[in-house]
């Protein structure tokens, strides 16, 4: 069951952009950028990783 209304088709780009792995990849990029430009923001990245890692929590 997809959760979509009957007859509705989900666009492929939406599925890719909202993939659960996307935030991890974004945080990897964020780590590199923070390390290069503003190391102090790396702490925010660490927090973000910790927060998103709880996605599997119920």
């Amino acid at each position: 069951m997809s959760g979509l209304p009957p007859g509705a088709a989900r666009s492929p780009w939406r599925g890719r952009l909202t993939d659960p792995a996307v935030p991890v990849l974004a945080l990897v990029c964020g780590t590199v950028a923070a390390a290069w430009y503003a190391p102090v923001l790396t702490w925010a990245i660490i927090g973000g990783l910790a927060g998103y890692s709880l996605s599997g929590s119920v």
Binding site: M1, S2, G3, L4, R10, R14, G15, L17, T18, D19, P20, A21, V22, P23, V24, L27, V28, T31, A34, A35, P39, V40, L41, T42, W43, A44, I45, I46, G47, G48, L49, A50, G51, Y52, S53, L54, S55, G56, S57, V58
Partner: protein, 146 residues
Amino acid sequence: MPEGWRPAVAITAALLGVARDAGLVTLRLPQNARQVPQDVLQRDLVRGALQFGFELGTGVRTYVSASLPYVAALAVLLANDVGTALLTGLGFALGRAVTPALRYASRAGEDWDDRLQDRLPLLAVGGGAVLAAALVVLTLHGFPAS
């Protein structure tokens, strides 16, 4: 603890967390492994939603599925800096909020849940590895961030 040991302890904990999430080591960590009961929503919808969100969002009463929050908490404790704690807390809140936001944006919640289950090892092990790398970067730039 000597100042110079703090980053080493944090990085070691991060690597241990990766090994734990990869199933290489068994290590029990403290957690209140219970689900928030549904009846908190039935008593008062607004207050119940806030309580539900707080308890689930902060991990006060939930099944913690990764070692990262423990490692992040230890790193912040070792950093011993208010700004560091605030930045990490802000990041944690945003990271926690991404899950329901992304699920909602997908417009296919159950399908998204299935994909999340497939990606959980990546979230835990990959995210833990990134966290360890981030701690190495912070060490190179001077740990803590004060």
